[in-house]
Amino acid sequence: MADPMRIRAQVAGDKATVRVLMAHDMETGTRKDGAGKIIPAWFIQEVTVTHNGKTVLTAEWGPGVSKNPFLQLVVKGAKIGDKIGVTWKDNKGGTRSDEATTS
């Protein structure tokens, strides 16, 4: 399984700013390795963010997103102690889910 995501969710007022750092190579499929062979495309395609179990964001990414992707979003109606879940799926069927608590 991939390395865990780092998720920080900070509440201010009734909103939580969520910052996620994911561990993924995000290969575009256009690079060549030392032997001149194309390194196949391998990238996160779908991202889902949940707030206390409810999906609040779905996103689709292409290989143009940078390696070790960063994502920042603002969840409305959040308070301290809420659960933020982040799940990603890549184009090879790999997946990772992590959770954090707002503070």
């Binding site: 909103k15 575009t28 256009t30 690079r31 395609q45 779908e46 963010v49 707030h51 409810k54 999906t55 609040v56 964001l57 779905t58 996103a59 689709e60 990414w61 292409g62 290989p63 143009g64 997103v65 940078s66 390696k67 992707p69 960063f70 994502l71 920042q72 979003l73 603002v74 969840v75 409305k76 109606g77 799940t87 799926k89 997946t95 889910s97 959770e99």
Partner: protein, 151 residues
Amino acid sequence: MQSRRQALKKTAIVTGLLASTGLFPGLAFAFSKDGFEAKTIQDAIKALGAGALVASKDVVLTAPDIAENGAVVPFAASTTLPGVKRLLILVEKNPAPLVALFNVSDSVEPAFTTRGKMGQSSDVYAVAIMADGRALFAKKEVKVTLGGCGG
């Protein structure tokens, strides 16, 4: 906490399997392959089913004037308009311009930040696709000193 983690993992896997069978049509979203494989911004927007691009002061793209490292360029797309369904980030001169697509719900602010790759200096677009299919955009030229596609 091992058992809880296992339970969460199992739930995610089962949900993923169920979603892929189409049992949850609302949750299972088909990857916008055509949009991400389009070679021009116009084609990407059309593939996503939106109308012609119209400039709007109410859509904001935040990006650096100069990106020293084209492999990691911070982009933020946001809008103050109500009724946005999707926010997109596109890099005009990339081999496939569509970088990221965010499906906006009522529970999040229509404002997202990520980091993308730029192969060369280019215009970068933030596009808001509205509920009525209009595509409103803001763009900014970002100069790149070191291209980011590894070539």
